[in-house]
Symmetry: D2
């Protein structure tokens, strides 16, 4: 059973009546309800911004196979230390599922190496049609050629990410935009899946296809082969002594 943790900013659901009406117990509750009953996962752990260290302690991450992340307007309130800890765990093999505005979160931006927070966006309730473009990809298992969300926040290109390792979904928005909405990346031992749908004012996380994509994404991102290593230094193995070795080694292992 895969051990999953979701970080949810959990701000809109507590402060905005229109969001609370859709997700009375938080977006995480809608996702947890599905994943806990899906059959492949341990009961999902929930962490929120208002918890100490956002709930993302070393111990929690040590016991997390795949981390889901939802954040939108409070990215800056996640302490740098917590973001760096998440990045380190991803590099060491923890899967990362970036949901919706997680593209602008600190860990995702660091892992991309680009200005991944940059994109077009518009809140007009466009129809979103999510097209599968890679029929061989495990994240598409059980999904139709395309599926629709009656209303979603529009995200449009240019989305400033590196070329994804796999492009899985591309979304058509009724207002005229397209968006690479399902993308995968490898970073160190970690597997990252970014999936765009999930604006807080729409019931996206109750949609059966969205839920299936998230479950597939977690299964894909789960790396059972994680090596039991420390925090990154393990691969430095200078196998000779040289005039420079000491100085270099010191520099490399910082």
């Amino acid at each position: 059973m895969i051990r999953i943790t979701m970080y949810n900013e959990f701000y809109h659901e507590q402060h905005k009546p229109n969001v609370k009406a859709i997700y009375p117990n938080g977006m995480h509750a809608a996702i947890k309800e599905y994943l806990d009953s899906e059959g492949s996962f341990e009961p999902m752990r929930v962490c929120t911004l208002d918890m100490p260290e956002c709930g993302l302690t070393e111990e929690v991450l040590d016991n997390t196979d795949v981390l889901l992340w939802w954040g939108h307007v409070k990215h800056d309130e996640v302490p740098d230390e917590v973001a760096e800890r998440v990045v380190r765990h991803v590099k060491d093999g923890m899967g990362f599922i970036g949901l919706h505005s997680a593209h602008a979160s600190k860990p995702f931006r660091t892992l991309m190496g680009t200005d991944s927070h940059l994109l077009r966006w518009r809140e007009t309730g466009d129809l979103a049609r999510i097209w599968t473009v890679d029929y061989a990809h495990p994240i598409t298992n059980g999904l139709p050629d395309y599926f629709e969300l009656e209303h979603e926040e529009t995200y449009g290109e240019h989305f400033d990410i590196p070329q994804p390792d796999d492009l899985v979904f591309v979304t058509w928005f009724s207002g005229g935009e397209i968006f690479r909405s399902g993308c995968t990346f490898h970073r160190g031992q970690g597997r990252i899946f970014y999936f765009q749908p999930g604006h807080e004012t729409f019931p996206t996380y109750y949609n059966e296809n969205v839920r299936k994509v998230i479950a597939n994404g977690i299964k894909w991102a789960y790396n059972p082969g994680r090596k039991s290593i420390g925090t990154g230094h393990f691969r430095i193995k200078p196998n000779i002594e040289s005039e420079w070795a000491g100085e270099l080694q010191e520099n490399f292992t910082k």
Copy 2:
């Protein structure tokens, strides 16, 4: 100066009044007019289906740096021998620009290794909005974030190609489809660029942005470093004699 040749099926323009009205001298003439004046290319050579060997003789291909291909309903009339010759030249370093329905042409299908002729399509004159998704790619030089074609044939996913090396453009169609409309591939020493717009009933090849994309594509596909090799066997260099070497070599070099 890059030496370019365009193969055009040149059927519709001669037999369909509505197409002839747009392209009285053939689609190739519209493309030639632009490329010949662009400044980077030798005067474009034109080959058509009704020429002997489709005009694509060994000599013509030997003197072609980049080949443009437009075909739609007469793919099967291109002799297998001619298609195989084109494929061989691409592998040996000739660039290949597949325009519009060239996705279903014999050379392109062989080079992809997939059922690249398979896709959704519809002729309803949808608005096409071509989005740039890779800002660092040379084929996007001088292009805006997106540009529009008032009417185009709709091509929709799933487009059965391998994962492209670079995904350059994705088109939004007003009817609800998206399409990976600008894709690059390496095959042997050859560089391939597929670009979707260009249905014969619309004046697509007079569009300034389409023309710029084609010119950029040719420049990108031009491989000045082509090795002066024969037809593929050069890399087989068994450097020892062994019990099996003879038999294997015979098998490999067929």
Copy 3:
């Protein structure tokens, strides 16, 4: 349980004493012994060149989730019809594991779209050191940073394949060559993994790490989400009638 079939040319093991000494019941027997006991697979079915249709009937392929392929000097004796059948099943979602000289087999060559039979080679019993280059890839689960085979046939670049979707392993040979020895590709709904080690004169398929790679490769290539489709035409859905629709449709669905 994943249903696997292995095609083995099964020629050397019957005709060459030095090979028979290593693999008295065929290389497939060594692989089957391991996979049947690994716990994830149905008992492996074996097909050989001397069976009618190489054993690869429509019915066998219909009941195969992942096909392993070993062939070396008798590629040409596999009937075109059988090779095309295999290719079609891969496109429709059957996994394909190309072992050793399968790079020159008819199905693999067709699926690559390149002269993938071309590479350097040498039978001098070089030491092969197989390096993992993508630590996040599922095919590397449980594998060390590198492992060695005391003797293997040397394969060297240039290996004329398209850019792999994922490059998983690169082999160092003591004679001075390197080779992209573990590569993945998507084709249609199918997942392909090519793995270089496995020359018939060496006991490679008894090596624990090689076996683990093969098992991992099968698990990765298994596509449980295969759509129950026919032979490729399903995605053509012209959704309007037009002057050209009939002619085009006829052309496309051939």
Copy 4:
């Protein structure tokens, strides 16, 4: 003519007699000598660690099409502000050629999003054989199938980079290692090429093939289509007013 700037740490050449003997005027001088006479470039500008702001002022970068970077043991002495400035210019379209230990430089590490400083290394003067693996890539123009450096510092996998967009070269080291020694990446509008050879104690930068690779890399990385934009905010175009727009915009444009 392409405007190029090289940043060289320029420490070893001034303080280590064995390095000074090879590069009396610095490694940059050896590179400059070649590039200035190659015919495609403006005279190369040189910046060193001991210059104010490492010489990499806003004005210098504004007038640089492609930046070469060599650093080894003084990465930490490059001010964060300078490193961030370089990263920003790369994202805005300046090419970046990372030479040798530039893999551990601040700008490269940020652009990768991984622990790219991590790899195996050894200073024993191994023979390095650099193999071309992508025959269609422009960086390989005029290069042979492989070339050798009699002595180089050994870098070995695992090299903790993202999957490269293009893998161009892989190096075989006589001691048993392989290394993905020529890799390209797109980041924003910028093109990045990393090339491994170039240890300070060996005359690598006098090697004709190494020089050709560097010149090819610069030509490939040069993006004449750089958009005249500011520093990253240009793509944020909220085109409606909504309850959340203000708050979101503030967050995004930080």
